[in-house]
Symmetry: C4
Subunit: 167 residues, 4 copies
């Protein structure tokens, strides 16, 4: 499905926006330093969108297959309530989150770029991927963003959800 079809999706049903970290909130890369530190590149416009969703009462979750302290630091700054790391079984992690929040899959948007995200993308009411994603999540997605991961793709989804909120 192409980005131009966003108007056909029921963004107003979304109560939780869950997403993969690497390749979605970042450019998919880690900067590995000889001093042992690890750095990730996050987008400021994504951050502003997530803060607005949070303030509007939408639940937010980051679900990453790999643990990273850089991710924790950015999540803390944005006060992301659910930060789940080291879980490659994204679908199970999303299911557990929905149970905890007492929400149904159709109330969830899930966004990911790799094939370990595919089942979660299928499960969610609105499944989302990015233009540079692997084939499998892109084929499963209801929506593919215009912007690439780490460069405003998350903000694009935040804007769709915010626009559909009751004024």
């Amino acid at each position: 499905m192409s980005a131009s079809d966003s108007s056909k999706l029921d963004w107003s049903a979304i109560k939780v926006f869950a997403m993969d970290v690497d390749g979605i909130l970042t450019d998919g890369c880690i900067y590995v330093s000889s001093d042992g530190s690890e750095t990730k590149r996050f987008s400021i416009i994504d951050g502003l969108g997530l803060v607005r969703l949070r303030d509007a009462g939408i639940q937010l979750a980051w679900i990453s297959g790999r643990g990273s302290y850089a991710t924790n630091l950015r999540a803390n700054e944005l006060k992301i309530p659910h930060v789940i790391q080291g879980r490659k079984d994204k679908e199970t992690a999303l299911t557990e989150l929905l149970e905890k929040l007492d929400l149904k899959p159709e109330q969830a948007a899930y966004m990911g770029d790799d094939d370990i995200d595919t089942a979660a993308i299928k499960l969610a009411g609105i499944g989302i991927s990015v233009p540079e994603g692997q084939d499998s999540p892109k084929e499963a997605a209801d929506y593919i963003t215009e912007r690439s991961g780490g460069n405003g793709a998350v903000r694009e989804i935040c804007n769709h959800i915010l626009k559909a909120l009751p004024q």
Copy 2:
């Protein structure tokens, strides 16, 4: 308005060039490290343009919605006289700056990429955005740069202002 219309704007009226930081002086990203440091990517050609404006007596201001010590370090190197951080109400911050400098809005150029910049872009004599900006600031702008933020967009504006200075 497109970049090709720069000749229709009165750059010679500009006495202060105020700008957002993230997405304007940078690529809109922060590099978050596991060691707790935060890094931003600034352009050298932008820096040379800003130093020339400063030496030519144009007032310079950086107005950011978010505090960052990396921003302070770069501002110190370029001796930017007005560095205002942690202000999402950009229009009010710009108005206060103009009062302090005893200048009118039509003597200001303001440049930003996100919707919190839109009112300041409208207020300024020349409002500017970047190609990858959000819709709202781009629609409000009198001028959209050819170069992207953090990749010479600020230098492009510096060049326009410098060219219009009395020789």
Copy 3:
């Protein structure tokens, strides 16, 4: 040879995937810091592909012309069994590796972007380069990836090898 010809290659013969580091697993750059540290940018999707190959019993080797502790750190995380650094004579290094593993050149895939990789690319059963590589390795290659180095080129090869494994 273009990326579209991948189906003509016998990926099922490959028992070892050896590759250059800079420009293949990274964007070809080092980030040199004033504090003396050196940073490299690795792709998460490449990492997942390499881990899958390793788990499937394919031998993996990184052969770099230049030593870098950042490379060691990433190799350790992915548990790459053969990390050979400081060797500009890539063909000899690959030959020694094949002897050690008791494998023939036709059982090897080798991937590199610079002319010091050309002889190893020719030696390997499947020689691979990237779109932005130098002329010499690209001319010698049996396959040129669609994705660029550090942006999923290695994952593209992992996917080809994985798809050809007996199910």
Copy 4:
């Protein structure tokens, strides 16, 4: 002049290759960290080209308008014999270098991306700029590289000089 005209230039006359640093050997950006360090992004393929020129007896010089310890670290690794920093008067710096080396301007290649490089580009036998350079150096240049600064532009010049050396 376009990159396609390289064959009309007498690369065999070049005895010294002098170049600007930011925007030529890097992407024109500095990564400013909250911990006070400054990072620059250098290309590995550029480095290999420069080492080959040095080994072939070509003099190498880096001339930067701005001092940076990250630049010193990379220059040390590549054993660049002439590292001149904090000089915005590039033409004078180049003239002094030529006197010291007892060479004539027509034996020099000079490469830069900003208008402070323009006079040195005009002085040198072969003046070079990059596609994303400012207008003034590009108009003065005898040759504009196909690759961008920090992404192989310097290697492109190294290859031209190496190819023209007596075998």
